[in-house]
Assembly symmetry: C2
């Protein structure tokens, strides 16, 4: 039977109780889409993993090691989800990191179902500003856990603001909207995650000559938006048909154009 | 051989790779001093664990269960350190918590040595303000890991400020200082941990009729302080003989008076 997870390349479904991942969340991770038996946008995902690891001063194994692990777990599934975790090794106790060496954990699971377009709600919980950790997909995710308690039936994704009331992104996604032909997305320099799909969509928009900007705007900006969508590595571009009580065309024309450029498996 | 850790009361030194502690830091913990074979201030520690658990909506096992676990691990050690962790059980995937049930982890180790008084340095890294998590000893401790990289030989404890430059506390302790006969300590309502020893010292000071206040003050306040000390459950009251380049009497007279009231094993 194929195992569901590997730790440092060996079948395992546990980590040590002294893991700095458990004690402190001292690690980073990636959620990746498996497609046609391979890892979608693997290069980009690895580069982001490496960049995040560098922010925490963690050694990152080369891409081919991650891909070999993932392939070992992914026998014959056409689609799926891989999770790559990189957790600092434990040496003695205390907060101070004494090594850059990290444990490599790979898990594979099935792709969750999703509806064609999303209803968005703005969460009451606000994200703390911490530039030292902003943009990084690290293992300190209690804010997301707390915010997720606000998920109600009928909401597909929660939007998060910072303490100044500026939009940051979705609970599990980055946020985009279109206003007067411009593609807008929140800054993620004080909190939030700079997702690989966010970067890809910005590149695609630039390639199409679409005006774009990172902005600090509150939820009111979405009430005037012509189109709204969220992005991540699993869903690609996910158009919103509703934000709070406001209905929207989903997908809007620019959203469709970007999705067409993004290509399969994300055509909408 | 006595095991060093128990998971849900059974000898174990691993947790599942799907642990929400590893994935999100979805849990709380306590660090406790073992003294004369027992847990020091066990009632108070449990009440704080329960209060923190409630903030995250986690079920907490009764004190006697924690004490029984700890006793099973602590054969004949006069002193030591116990760590109690409470981690939400995993059910399915995603941030949203679907259960209040939690895994109970108990570890016992030896008491680390410490010098009689501490040299304090103010860390450059500043703590993010998140009222929803402030005061709780939860498993999201990446800020502490990042700050701990600033520890240099000659510094015994780092002091942390928030993004507004207000003192919050020590990396592993709460902070107190004396100014004109008043005992001052930072608010911990926006970030930081409200330690059990902090609460105990404030109660002791009140009992002695010492004027006290929670304050928002920057590091400059320490340059005018008559006495400074930090507290936690392991060290009790730890007088500072230096903050940055400024020397201090350690312990000062009020620090000594408080330590006398706190009693053994924390007499200084």
């Amino acid at each position: 039977m194929t195992p569901a997870s590997l730790v440092d390349g060996a079948p395992a479904d546990t980590v040590g109780i002294d893991s700095r991942g458990l004690a402190y969340g001292d690690g980073v991770f990636r959620t990746l889409r498996l497609q046609d038996g391979g890892v979608l946008h693997a290069d980009e995902q690895w580069r982001k993993l490496a960049a995040d690891a560098q922010r925490l001063d963690l050694e990152v194994p080369p891409l081919d090691v991650w891909l070999a692990d993932t392939a070992m777990l992914n026998h014959g599934q056409a689609t799926g989800v891989a999770k790559w975790l990189l957790v600092r090794r434990s040496e003695g106790r205390g907060y101070r990191p004494t090594t850059r060496a990290a444990q490599r954990i790979v898990q594979v699971s099935s792709l969750p179902p999703r509806v064609a377009s999303a209803a968005l709600t703005i969460a009451a919980l606000r994200l703390a500003a911490q530039p030292a950790l902003a943009g990084i997909k690290h293992l300190n995710r209690l804010e997301q856990v707390l915010a997720a308690r606000e998920l109600r039936p009928g909401t597909d994704e929660l939007l998060m603001c910072d303490h100044d009331g500026f939009l940051v992104g979705g609970l599990r996604s980055n946020l985009f909207w279109v206003h007067d032909g411009r593609l807008l997305t929140p800054f993620v320099d004080r909190c939030g995650i700079a997702g690989t799909m966010r970067a890809r969509v910005l590149r695609i928009a630039a390639g199409l000559g679409v005006a774009q900007a990172e902005v600090r705007e509150g939820g009111a900006a979405l009430m005037a938006a012509d189109e709204i969508f969220v992005t991540n590595a699993l869903v690609g571009i996910w158009p919103a048909h509703r934000v709070e009580t406001r209905g929207l065309q989903a997908p809007g024309p620019l959203t469709q154009r970007l999705a067409r450029e993004l290509g399969p498996p994300f055509l909408i």
